[in-house]
């Protein structure tokens, strides 16, 4: 309990540092929201008007306190790019991103773990070679290349899936709309699984090979325990803590989006919004997004610590400091 309180304190300190850095880093970056306006019909006076309306003409200290107030109250203010509340912008995008990337993460992790364990159990076989090759290929190919190939194959040559977007135009409603949504997400989801299962497979295979060679696994086999129990309850359990940690630390990425996937499949997601907000120095949007991501990362870190306590008895008993 004491240790957890200590970790919580550390997490809050990290968040405070991120909050301050968030403010200064965007302002240290080359350029500002006005340098991005390259329109000769936008005179220097017009830019000054804009700066005044965005509060950029106020002293930095004043801007900082306004920023802290907006962040801690979770209001976030108006986006400089769109003039709309940052919350609305995020609400429009994050659900789509999560709907695509969370299943992609879970499917690719499940597939990768399963294949990794299988490869570790059948060393030297064709199965292991296939897993190794496909795993290497999976994260060696650039995502846009694989995705364009999938589009050309399954949306153009054999038009099984739609070419773009997350719904038909005009949109459908009710159950037909839900089915239509899933049909639109199928190809990007499949592409993400294909592109990311390899990392999981290779990682788990390597960890399992190491674990299967440990003395306690040999001891379990010698005790005559069933093969399945030895694999999953003894070998895989020692692999589980790092796997859980990686899985949880991948969660912020589920919210921050996948810029290339969103571009190729023309999906409305948080990834591109974040990129554009950063590029155009949209301080309220970028600040809010990065603050929320930091919050999520710190939260997932704490959760990973908690789960490690649950899945690893050695941590519970203080075996690992």
């Amino acid at each position: 309990m004491k240790a957890f309180a200590k970790r919580l304190g550390g997490a809050l300190a990290v968040l405070a540092i991120v909050l301050v850095l968030n403010f200064f880093l965007f302002r240290i970056m080359p350029g500002d929201p006005l340098t991005g306006i390259v329109d000769p019909r936008f005179s220097p006076e017009a830019k000054q008007q804009l700066a005044a309306q965005w509060g950029l003409d106020r002293p930095l200290r004043e801007q900082f306190f306004v920023y802290i107030r907006e962040m801690l109250s979770f209001r976030f203010g108006l986006s400089m790019m769109t003039g709309q509340p940052v919350w609305d912008e995020l609400k429009n995008r994050v659900p789509n991103t999560v709907a695509l990337l969370l299943p992609a993460l879970l499917f690719s992790a499940a597939l990768g773990i399963f294949l990794g364990v299988k490869a570790a159990l059948r060393r030297g076989s064709i199965v292991e070679r296939l897993v190794l090759w496909s795993g290497a290929a999976s994260f060696s190919f650039p995502s846009f290349f694989v995705q364009i190939l999938l589009l050309m194959g399954f949306a153009w040559l054999w038009p099984i899936f739609p070419l773009s977007g997350s719904s038909s135009i005009p949109p459908r409603t009710g159950l037909a709309g839900a089915v239509d949504y899933l049909w639109h997400l199928a190809l990007p989801l499949f592409s993400l699984v294909v592109l990311s299962f390899g990392g999981w497979a290779l990682y788990v295979r390597n960890m399992m090979v190491k674990a299967l060679g440990e003395d306690y696994v040999l001891m379990a086999i010698a005790r005559g325990l069933p093969r399945r129990r030895v694999i999953w309850n003894h070998a895989f359990r020692s692999v589980l803590p790092p796997v859980v940690t990686i899985l949880l630390l991948s969660l912020p990425g589920v919210v921050s989006g996948a810029v290339i996937t969103e571009t190729v499949f023309s999906l409305n997601g948080a990834g591109r919004f974040l990129l554009e907000a950063t590029n155009s120095h949209d301080y309220p949007s970028a600040g809010a997004a990065f603050f929320l991501l930091a919050l999520l990362t710190v939260g997932c870190n704490l959760l990973a610590d908690l789960l490690c306590v649950l899945v690893d008895p050695r941590v519970r008993r203080g075996g690992v400091q």
Partner: protein, 600 residues
Amino acid sequence: MREKAMKRTGARFWGRLTKEPLFAFFSLTFFTVFFCAVFVSLLSPPPALASSFDIFQFEGPRMKDLYYPVIRDMDAQLLAMSTGKLDVLSDIYRPADIRRLSESGGVELSLAPTFHSFMITFNTRKFPWNRVELRQAAAQVVQRRQWTRDLFSGYCEPLTTYLPPVSPWCDPSPEELPQGMEAARSRLASAGWTWDRFGRLIAPDGQPVPPTKILCPPSSVAATTTEIAQLMADALNELGLPVEAEPIDFQTMLARVDRHDFDACTNAWTMSRDPDVLYAFYHSSMDVEGGYNLSGIADPELDGVLAGLRYAPDEAAARVRALEAQKLLCRLVPVAPIYSRYSVAAIRSDWNGVFTTERSTSDNMLTLISMTPKEGPDRPIYWNIPEEIRTLNPFVSTTAYDWTVLGTIYDSMLSVDPWTFEDVPWLAESWDITTGEKGSVLTFTLRDGLKWQDGRPLTVEDVAFSLGYIKDRNIPRFYDSVKDIESIEVDKDSRILRVALANTSYWHLHNIGGMPVLPKHILENVPDWRAWQPTLRIHSALDGTEMTELIGTGPFTFRESRTGEYVHMTRNEHYLLYAPAAVSTPSARAVSDAVSIMMN
């Protein structure tokens, strides 16, 4: 016989001229005035002709539904075009894509020059680019024709002028410097520059030219731009200048250029039809933070001419000044113009009513309202937008894609002739420019019978209110257009709007006449223009139907949008060119094959 008579007349005339002083004085005065008039008329360009373009030959919109799907990836756009998921695709710039589309069948391509200008800007505030002869020599070694052929396969125009050739204000006979390395070397040599034994350039005062850089975006962002910067650096190295291209992050580049922390850099602009943009680029008062005189050129003569251009009282004076400014710029070379991109648009061949001119591709408003399917029943138009719509609040939105949609909703007082870029009456049936006590006075007479998309009548008060709303709130997007307004008067009965301005300038006509007109009955309920979200606020039309507050007089009414996915518009049956009878008949194909370049 005739010769004898002529000789007799000549002798008589000569006799009177030598003997009668009064006759001699009047005769000489007459001939002097006559020849001066002829000389001046030859020097100054002919006054612009009033546009003869009749916009009322078009009737529409003919299709009920218009969708703007957002397809970002260029390859996905091409696939959508070839499978019929898209009907119109704009801004195709990769030569390979143009070839693919032209070979795929079922698609017609159109090509037109644009207001795009790509140039290399020299920082004239410091050595070596503060030396005019060096800038001239640099412009002479640019191999525009070869570079554009190699990099763009001919889909752009080598540029030697300071306004793009498509501009009606472009100098038709620019003073082009002789091109080539030898010409550049001899220019420098005649100005006292020398070369050391390593071939490096030495200034007339004995100062060697220091190593300099050409800033450009990285090739991952703009491959051709990086390549041009490298080619320019190679050419300048051959001339004896130690120059290298420096690709850096685009935002960092903008920030450095803003701080004047650069030697030379690449630039691309999309200009407007008005030449007063030259003032923004080259007048010394614009060499301030946030200004666009990136080169820092400060020449008193040029300043005088540009001020004359900006505050020209009428079109004739503006023309003279625009030509003078371009001639001066050709001599001062603050930037080296390189190329101007063509616009290429694709439209599915199963549509009638496609309209193109030698200056506009098929993706224009007149095509949009005239489109009808060649066969089968009416169907929606799918018109691609390559980036998501950021906002449909007209006061906040600044991107061209936002205005693609907003342009179908809002109209302005004047329109533009697609053949000549001259003014065409639109919401205003006529206008007049006079010079008052302080400055220009614009008088617009509004058309009778105009209606908003919600069925309410559009009056001259709406126009006055929307101008006043923008002026009073200093809305940055339109600040430059309205900042000089002194007063706005309306005469409701005769539908006259009088706008008095603080100074005299011909461009006020385009600034005020080109403003989007918004409805008073909506605007007076918008206290905070920044946070206004017109697409989320419900408004009732006169006939009771529900619509949003995004209401104009344009051909299409906003229906719904899904962020980053699509925007749905429907036909506005109150539109000025809408004729219910015409909608059921197929439109004639309004293409002039003589001037449009169709590449099938």
